[in-house]
Amino acid sequence: MSVAAELANMPGVVAAGEYSYRGDRFTFKGQISDEMARMAAIMCRATTMSEHMQVGMLEQYCPGCGSSPPQGWIVRGPAMTVCNIANVFCFIDNDKSSLNAVVALMRKRLAGASHDLV
């Protein structure tokens, strides 16, 4: 089972998906339309690219201080949260899900993911 499918089966997960760093494809599971999933993939990819640049800069100032390579990010809204590890994203309902459980699963399943952004 793909990571996205596994995540989509967790309580409170609205949708989960995977995108290519090149931006030419994506897959997803969950309760959003194809068009919204495409939008989600574009947004998450943009933030991940941005994070890599920023961590690169932080690493230049603070070599080996534990930031690089970045594993992912979380954006917290009032009712919904977006988690992203490597090139996999997950939209969750704050009241119905466990952020820790979702992030733990993502980090475990994506521990060996490449950081090359290709």
Binding site: I42, M43, R45, A46, M49, S50, M53, G56, M57, Q60
Partner: protein, 110 residues
Amino acid sequence: MIKQLLAIDGVMAVSRFRDDGAFVEGYGVLPEAELAALAHFAHDYKRIVQGNADQLSMFTGINGWTPPGGWIVRGARMSVCSVANLVCTVDNADGNLSEVMEYLTEASHY
């Protein structure tokens, strides 16, 4: 060829990078390592601007955002300008950003 860009008023340094981000060449008042860092920064920034343009296009449904033609980051005393795979630093007091962007666009076709 891109060395000629240093002749433009205000341009202090110029670098060129490959599509994969590798540093190709750089000239100007910065040491080689900083010219390479400038190229690296510009490559990353180019990807971010592409992501922003994609999102603007997606959210507004209006054409004309992509592909982005370049970017400018304006600081208090210095600016960084980039078109395609070229990037340069400009002293705001001496340079004209329109002129710099015009030359960068031209040089990007070399």
